[in-house]
């Protein structure tokens, strides 16, 4: 197993090229900082050579599955190819060395890219204003719901205390609503994977601030009655929030603005191919229609003549405010912009088409081979759900076992156990950048795994076998908390 960097450490070792050569007179330099404010204890960081560092982290990287190395059909995450050319331009000196608080007149290059991305996002969603500062999807959700809150408050309507959320929604939806001070009311899904209209009508009223929806939904199917839902909510005086997690399925084919949504967040790290980075950074810009424009977060870029400038609280007195120290994840914004310019209108248009083609192809092949689709009569959007509830009964294996065995076959597992509504589910999203051979290989692997499940089910229960570790004890992890390395003998923090 890979040793910790601390275990490679030896007192006195240094990466000498990174340490200044001139001997610094510490006493002299620190003379004007009072003793009581200075650090007196050593900093416990690893003492290693540069080669040790390079080897250690390079070897660590080799213990990861990634888009660059494996098919990664993680539903709802849109693991498409992250173009290297896009990464390269975002790392150009002029961008990388630019301080965010530089004078506006010296920031026009970046601001031009940001402004144009704002315009493009407005165009693909059918909305009137855009703000790029939310630093992740969840922050975009927070912004959108906060804008709805501001809208009702400014109208003097203080009865709107509830946000409606489908029971199939992503966890960030209710969490964001609560963070904005709302109560959450869940609406049931019907057997076809759509929001239950009767349940919706029963739960809408003067207390409804709005509804948060994803379309296509987290169940992988298009919300067929979306226009009716929009009408019901708007009639009751509420607003519609669109979670853009699944935008890859419809970009260029439908605009959420046309469906009736009032505010939308997009996930640049999904639809716009910016790198996931092992958990971040993301970027969750919000776009809004006319009535929610005044509440968009700041800062945003405005264009006056041929000059760009930052809009602040002074320009936008009703803004929900600032969400970050600077203007958000600038480097991610640049990458998304470069991606869109690279693809252009025809390339962007093809994204949803081929994402949907790949998903429907996989669905058709798996159905033909005996797998159970959660919604067999529906088209797949850019993703679909397979349920293993029958196999769980007959073969005593579950979605987790299949997912772990897929890792041995060199595929990252699909999303498991989400949405919560479908038992033993796998949410599969191939994305448009995968070729037919990869999809066929994935199907072949699943078939093989099912054969293994019939002949030797214990094999699945013990998977994976070919990775740096076997299945990990998560119960022990939570019980005997070890979050910070304490040295060789004493590695526990003690039980809670």
């Amino acid at each position: 197993m890979s040793r910790l960097i601390f275990e490679e450490s030896k007192p006195g070792r240094q990466a000498k090229a990174q340490i200044p050569t001139s001997q610094l007179d510490e006493k002299d330099i620190l003379a004007d900082i009072p003793e009581a404010l200075r650090r007196q204890t050593p900093v416990m960081l690893p003492e290693v050579s540069e080669l040790q560092v390079v080897r250690h982290f390079t070897k660590l990287s080799q213990r990861n599955f990634s888009i660059d190395t494996q098919f990664y059909p993680l539903g709802s995450c849109t693991m498409k190819y992250n173009p290297r050319g896009v990464h390269r331009v975002a790392m150009l000196d002029g961008f990388v060395n630019h301080h965010p608080l530089s004078l506006e007149e010296n920031s026009q290059g970046f601001m031009a890219c940001a402004y144009e991305l704002q315009e493009i996002l407005k165009s693909v969603t059918g909305m009137k204003g855009a703000a790029l500062s939310p630093m992740a999807g969840a922050q975009g959700e927070f912004a959108g719901v906060a804008m709805i809150e501001a809208y009702h408050r400014m109208r003097g309507d203080h009865a709107r205390t509830e946000i409606l959320v489908p029971d199939a929604a992503h966890g960030t939806n209710p969490a964001s609503a609560v963070q904005c001070g709302f109560k959450v009311r869940e609406i049931a899904t019907d057997a076809n994977g759509n929001v239950d209209i009767e349940a919706l009508k029963a739960n809408v009223g003067p207390q409804t601030a709005g509804i948060m929806l994803t379309n296509p939904s987290t169940l992988g199917v298009f919300e067929e009655k979306i226009e009716e839902i929009a009408a019901i909510i708007h009639k009751a005086g509420g607003l519609l929030y669109y979670d853009g997690a699944n935008f890859n399925a419809i970009m260029g084919k439908v605009r959420p603005g046309d469906m009736g949504f009032d505010v939308i967040h997009l996930n640049l790290h999904k639809t716009f191919a910016t790198p996931h980075g092992g958990g971040g950074p993301g970027s969750g810009p919000v776009v809004a229609n006319e009535r929610l424009l005044p509440y968009l977060p700041i800062p945003r870029v405005a264009k006056e003549g041929d000059k760009y400038r930052w809009l602040t609280e002074k320009d936008c007195p009703d803004t929900i405010g600032r969400l970050s120290a600077f203007m958000g994840n600038a480097g991610i914004i640049l990458r998304a912009y470069a991606y869109v310019r690279l693809l252009g209108r025809e390339g962007l248009h093809r994204v949803a088409e081929f994402a949907t083609l790949n998903a429907n192809y996989l669905l058709a092949r798996l159905k033909a081979l005996g797998f159970t689709a959660a919604f067999p009569k529906r088209r797949a959007s850019h993703e679909f759900i397979i349920t293993l509830k029958n196999e769980a009964k007959t073969l005593h294996i579950n979605a987790l076992d299949v997912a772990k065995r897929l890792l041995d076959y060199g595929f990252h597992a699909p999303t498991m156990y989400f949405p919560l509504l479908v038992p033993e589910c796998l949410l599969i999203e191939p994305t448009e950048t995968e070729n037919k051979e990869t999809l066929d290989a994935f199907v072949a692997a699943l078939v093989k795994i099912m054969e293994e499940a019939q002949t030797e089910p214990d094999l699945l229960k013990g998977a994976p076998y070919t990775l740096p570790v076997r299945r990990l004890d998560e119960v022990k992890a939570a019980r005997d908390l070890d979050l910070v390395y304490k040295g060789n003998d004493e590695t526990k923090l003690g039980s809670e």
């Binding site: 910790l4 340490i19 200044p20 330099i29 620190l30 009072p34 200075r38 204890t41 900093v43 416990m44 960081l45 982290f57 390079t58 080799q62 990861n64 888009i67 993680l74 150009l92 000196d93 630019h98 301080h99 530089s102 004078l103 920031s107 026009q108 970046f110 992740a136 927070f142 209710p174 969490a175 609560v178 959450v184 067929e224 084919k253 439908v254 469906m259 996931h276 971040g280 950074p281 970027s283 929900i320 405010g321 970050s324 120290a325 958000g328 991610i332 310019r341 693809l343 025809e346 083609l357 529906r378 990252h412 995968e434 070729n435 076997r470 004890d473 992890a477 939570a478 908390l481 910070v484």
Partner: protein, 463 residues
């Protein structure tokens, strides 16, 4: 079409398997009246070569200027190995480590990061990062509200917010926390020192009975070093939670927040950008958060734990996920779903490369440079240091001309001179920073130009 690998043959075969004749048929569940035929207002695509040319033009505009701006984002030397390794596809294009066995690289790295941050700040627990320093403060305040013993009938929580804190941090924290019945009470600073006015602070505490926490920045927005031991003690004496906001690089030289007031603060947060992250026009950066062990259950964000696999071999997993949105949904500690994984990777490699000696040397050099900056500029007639107090990293100078005029004139000479301040008492001031990347020659250049500008040399305003 970029990145779509399908041949005409592939498409034909796939459509046949599905049982439709055209790709368009796959969208037949979408109401016809909603369907678009094409994207408007978007230009044609381009090749990578054309993209390069376009982006190089934009990048050149923002140029490579000599930068003396700090104010929350700092220019440091970043060893080449940091981003070479961080940009490896295995780090850049993997996802959140939900399949732990297939993500041991990222998970072990985060465990090492948590350890390094806890050590650097001398705190018991660190999380796997939040979005940035400002939003981390917002989350810290929400955490403080959850931690504070509930007082019956108390409708609001008040948090003491010094005017010495970065104004953007205050604004972002307010946007995030205001929906949870949390209000901020401004704490004034002493005009001569730029430190928190402790007398006013005590009076505010005595006058309000629903205060839950005190925010303590170190260094503060002005670069001034405050009396953190006394402030932390004051918070403890008054049964308030203490929230430190620190610069992690500075902690190599300054007393870390885990030692303030003897027992340390309850929660620390701040901006991790100084640790190997380039300025990059404002992001992505990463926020860090550490806390005392006893507060762990209310800490937001991801946390990685070490455990064993079924063969007893050590391995790493995300743990305590029951706090998070994907499990608790509406009852989660936060809606946060991301950590800044890529930036954490860079920071961990940076801290490993620099080690304790390198980090300390870098911080020492920064202080030396800022002292040199101070000496050089105060020799110019009319330029004075505003705050009579120890400082680190940056200084507020009072100048005899409008700060914006000066900044614009400096920019004509390819220098970003600093940041003008919004505080009404500091309207004629600039906040300036010199890190280890500034040479003596750079500082001389700045001084020469500033002298010229103040002496009334032509201030040419190009239209």
């Amino acid at each position: 079409m970029p990145f779509i690998p399908h041949t005409e043959n592939d498409i034909k075969e796939m459509l046949q398997t599905i049982g439709v004749s055209r790709i368009e048929d796959l969208f037949d569940e979408i109401p016809k009246n909603l369907r678009l035929s094409q994207l408007r207002d978007i230009g044609p695509g381009m090749t990578e070569m054309e993209l390069n040319k376009l982006m190089q033009q934009h990048a050149k505009q923002d140029g490579n200027m000599l930068c003396f701006i700090g104010a929350g984002a700092y220019e440091h030397h970043i060893p080449a190995a940091v981003w070479d390794i961080t940009s490896r596809g295995e780090f850049m294009t993997c996802y959140t480590p939900y399949q732990a066995e297939a993500s041991q690289g990222t998970l072990q790295l985060i465990y090492e990061f948590q350890t390094m941050m806890a050590n650097l700040l001398d705190m018991e627990i660190a999380n796997a990062s939040l979005y940035d320093g400002a939003s981390a403060l917002g989350e810290a305040i929400l955490m403080a509200a959850r931690l504070y013993p509930y007082k019956k009938g108390q409708p609001t929580y008040k948090v003491l917010m010094p005017r010495t804190l970065h104004p953007n941090y205050r604004d972002a924290a307010f946007s995030i926390a205001k929906h949870q019945h949390i209000t901020f009470i401004d704490v004034p600073y002493v005009e001569s020192t730029g430190k928190i006015n402790s007398e006013s602070l005590q009076k505010l505490i005595d006058d309000h009975d629903d205060i839950i926490a005190l925010v303590i920045p170190q260094p503060n927005y002005f670069g001034v070093l405050d009396d953190i031991d006394a402030l932390t003690q004051l918070a403890r004496d008054n049964h308030l939670l203490s929230i430190g906001v620190v610069n992690p690089l500075a902690c190599a030289l300054l007393k870390p927040p885990g030692q303030w007031g003897g027992e340390g603060v309850d929660i620390v947060c701040g901006e991790g950008q100084p640790l190997g992250i380039p300025l990059a026009a404002g992001g992505p950066y990463f926020g860090f958060m550490c806390c005392k062990k006893k507060h762990l259950r209310q800490m937001p964000g991801r946390v990685v734990g070490r455990t064993i696999d079924m063969n007893g071999k050590p391995g790493f997993v995300l743990t305590l996920q029951a706090r998070e949105q994907h499990i608790r949904r509406a009852k989660a500690t936060s809606n946060i779903c991301t950590n800044q994984g890529l930036l954490v990777t860079a920071a961990t490699i940076y801290m490993s490369l620099l080690g304790p000696a390198g980090l300390r040397q870098t911080a020492l050099l920064c202080h030396q440079r800022t002292r040199e900056l101070c000496d050089a500029l105060t020799r110019i007639p009319g330029v004075n240091v505003v705050f009579n107090a120890p400082y680190f990293h940056e200084i507020v100078f009072r100048l005899p001309k409008s700060p914006n005029e000066i900044l614009q004139a400096l920019a004509k000479n390819n220098i970003q001179g600093g940041v003008a301040l919004t505080d009404p008492n500091l309207k004629d001031c600039l906040l300036m920073c010199a890190t280890e990347t500034k040479t003596s020659q750079d500082i001389k250049t700045l001084a020469v130009h500033l002298r010229e500008i103040l002496a009334g040399e032509k201030l040419v305003c190009h239209a």
